[in-house]
């Protein structure tokens, strides 16, 4: 990608290729840690859902909460760390710069706020704010990072507001329905380069930023909770896909001068043209189907297992259009770029166990296997996803109307290389190996009024 001369279509196309792929990807883009108890249980919470965070994990669980109002606030700071080593060979020629890189230290704060109201044995309702899709990957030493043309920083956050109603015709069964209203913000940054001179020296020529907020998206939700006995509980929760439409959002190109007259002049002219353009894109957050079972071994000890399915296979490509919104009838010089993604559906297995240590204290542990839906070809600095193992634990302390949960999850990513049997697979030709881990401490407060 770096072997480029500059003209406007070039920059548009390259900008598109850089800006797009980050916006929708795999398990790593989904943040399942929307409740502290669920996080401590490895996310295996669909058949449990016994606090207000049920509004995310299984809305029908609200039928089994205490009567009256309840409020739950859950914060699970995500501390990711990524490392990258560029492949030797062709990638080193095409993508000059530092052969290794790390992400900056960062903390992100996925937050789940849940309000429930159980009216009686039959009806309950609730609404929630949650952030089930989001991401931040910001690389250090950006000006010399070899993957700077792909991405130096990607920040995405989808904010979900989800009201729901639960109907429980029998004491052991509840069904729920609702919807989500979604606003998504994103910021994507990369650096454009060009080569010049007989020795093909690479120059950074522009900072590219795409910032925007989507139109209001809507997605359906539905859930079932079935508790046939004191020992068994089963749950199914469906959260529909949401289309995020970004329209006329800011695409900004800021020149970095090289000191070489012809290059700077050409870049200036082209960026002036580009800066008349706005970015448009459609990005879909995939549907999620959660299924789970819980078994009470005895009155103090419960085991949980969940299988989660993500509809990532619908994510085959992204079409990004740069155009001038002020041109009536459409901008004839708009440029579209289609980015190949080719995702497959994602699956997660989640396991949890819960001990009642004392009447007021419960201990929880969890484990999860998260199978990445991201094909090797689209692994990039935007999101280097991989299969991962989650290890978690936590404590819930309760006294009268208050529950406090503190927990911790450690996410261990498999090392993932885009080089297979000596052949690079990266769709963009940027081959290398990625490692990552994430720490997620979590704390949640629930209060029953």
């Amino acid at each position: 990608m770096k072997r480029t001369l500059l003209n406007h279509s070039l920059v548009l196309l390259l900008a598109a290729s850089v800006l797009v792929p980050s916006v929708a990807y795999p398990g790593g883009f989904n943040i399942y840690e929307q409740g502290s108890r669920a996080t401590a249980l490895g996310g295996a919470f669909t058949a449990t859902a016994d606090d207000p965070s049920a509004l995310f994990y299984n809305m029908a669980g609200t039928a089994f909460l205490r009567e009256g109002w309840a409020l739950s606030v859950n914060v699970s700071p995500v501390l990711p760390r990524n490392k990258f080593t560029r492949a030797m060979g062709r990638t080193a020629i095409d993508f000059p710069g530092d052969p290794t890189a790390e992400t900056k230290d960062a903390v992100f704060f996925p937050t789940g706020i849940y309000v429930t109201y159980r009216h009686d044995d039959i009806w309950s309702a609730g609404f929630s704010f949650s952030t089930p899709y989001g991401l931040g990957v910001e690389w250090d030493n950006q000006s010399t990072f070899s993957g700077r043309t792909e991405s130096v920083n990607a920040q995405i956050e989808g904010l979900y507001f989800s009201p729901s109603v639960t109907f429980s015709p029998w004491s052991h069964l509840a069904i729920a329905g609702g919807f989500s209203l979604v606003k998504t913000s994103l910021e994507l940054n990369s650096i454009r380069t060009t080569t010049f001179g007989t020795d093909n020296t690479t120059y950074n020529i522009a900072d590219v930023t795409l910032e925007g907020t989507s139109r209001l998206g809507v997605g359906p939700n539905a859930a079932i909770m079935y508790r046939p006995s004191d020992r068994w509980s089963f749950g199914v929760n469906y959260r529909g896909g949401v289309l995020n439409e970004f329209r006329d959002d800011d695409a900004e190109f800021v020149q970095r001068t090289t000191g070489i007259g012809p290059v700077d002049d050409a870049v200036a002219a082209e960026l002036a043209f580009l800066n008349t353009k706005s970015a448009n894109a459609d990005i879909e957050f995939p549907a999620i189907l959660m299924t789970g079972a819980r078994y009470e071994v005895n009155e103090d000890f419960g085991l949980m297992v969940d299988f989660i399915w993500f509809d990532w296979s619908s994510f085959e490509e992204i079409r990004l259009v740069f155009s001038d919104p002020d041109i009536v009838g459409g901008d004839p010089t708009s440029v579209a770029q289609v980015i190949r993604e080719d995702y497959s559906d994602g699956q997660q297995w989640r396991f949890g166990a819960e001990y009642r240590i004392s009447p007021k204290l419960r201990g929880m542990v969890g484990f999860a296997y998260d199978n990445t839906p991201q094909p090797t070809g689209s692994v990039s600095p935007l999101l280097p996803d991989a299969n991962r193992l989650d290890y978690s634990l936590g404590l819930t302390w309760e006294k009268e109307n208050l529950e406090i949960t503190a927990g911790y999850m450690f996410v261990d990513f498999d090392e993932r290389s885009t080089v297979v049997d000596g052949v690079g697979q990266s769709f963009e030709g940027f081959d290398g190996t990625y490692t990552a881990l994430v720490h997620i401490p979590t704390i949640g407060f629930s209060y029953y009024f």
Binding site: N7, S9, K83, V423
Partner: protein, 467 residues
Amino acid sequence: MRHMRIKAFVGLVACVGLIAGCSLDEPATPTANMNQLTERYGALGNSLTAGFMGGALFNDGQMAGYPYLISRQMGIEKFEMPLVDQPGIGAPNSLGIPQGMFYVDEFGVITTDNVLDPVGLLLNSLHPVGYDNLGIPGATTFDLANATSAATSQSGGNLFFDLILRNSALPPFNTTQLDQMMALAPDYLSLWVGANDVLGGAAGGNPVAGVNITPGSVWPTLFTPILDAIEMIPGVHVVLGNIPSIPSAPFFTTIPVVADVPGIGSFRWAMDEDTDDDPVIFVLITAPVADPAEQPNYIAELGGTKSLGGQYTLTQSEVDLLDATVDAINSTIASEAAARGWGLADIHALMSSLPNDMSDPATFGRLNSVFPWGAAGQNVFSAFSLDAIHPSEKGYASVANFFIDAFNDTYEMSIPAVDEGAVTNVIGFANSPGFVPPRGRQASAPLYSAEGRDALIGLVELLGADQ
């Protein structure tokens, strides 16, 4: 009991803490000398590389050209070409107006049309970097490393340089074919150049070393610097194509020197350059006698008073000069390929092996049934297109396989061959409005319309840059 539970939980905390305490590993450093999804194949050359067919450059011909076929067989997803919409861009006629592709009209005549806005036919002129196919019709070996525009091309006005190099819009605004290919830094490169260093003089009927053909002794000084530059591309895999024997094209061989007049006898055309010491060997397809109505005028025994000028014939000494030049060029190509460890596609052998006998429909040959006096064959089996110089779909497929064989043999690759049996010649026939492809049709009528002949002569001029 409670204490046991607490201890157990503390133990779990310790386990998770141990796991979390592991530091983030440094990623391994893989080596990937190729990326099958982003591999780049580049093609450098002239009209033969551009996919020029039937007198013009146009999308169907470009897609049938050997570079595109090779890229497909390699599995390379992106192979950018300067695609030209139909009717294509051909050589200018005598009025200077570019002509479109040749096609057989409803009367069975090869004709062409004016193209008033050739630039408007370009389909991807905004491609942000040089094209992967950098074959430029009319390009000579000198042009490859020196021409940046029509004005600086060896012919002094070859529009294709402006259209394909795009130096008016593509920074740094002064690049040659070679420069643009160097910037692309392909993983695989085919270079097939040299034909125009000889062809122009040959097609013009008066080849003169140092005037309209490049002397074989001079050509290496133009060629080897190009190879030296290509060698600087890291990891590049190169196959060189040698040039065909010039008289192997139907342009030179279709019209016999002796005319058979049914029921009367055989007569040698009246020809200016035909002497006992240096007899005419070939009559070019541009000769007026290609038109049956003109033929009696060139047979003295039948009262004809006209004589074919030297621009329509090649004598023995001229053919000897052409052969010697081609041999010298091919000798250089072969020795350079061997010295650099590169592959060699022996196109000379391919073209020389083409049969004139079209009786075997299982093979194909150089003749084309629509040319006058062509053997009883079908166009679908011809290796040449309607301009009688450039290959047909089948011809290009065969050329592609020669290059593919060379890549495979030289670099231990396993690029699958093009299925030549599945390739059919339809361009120029299927594209003609209201005309059914003349499978098995025998030639018996004038073949080139006046417009077609004018364009054919223009094509000769396009290829005939003084050296």
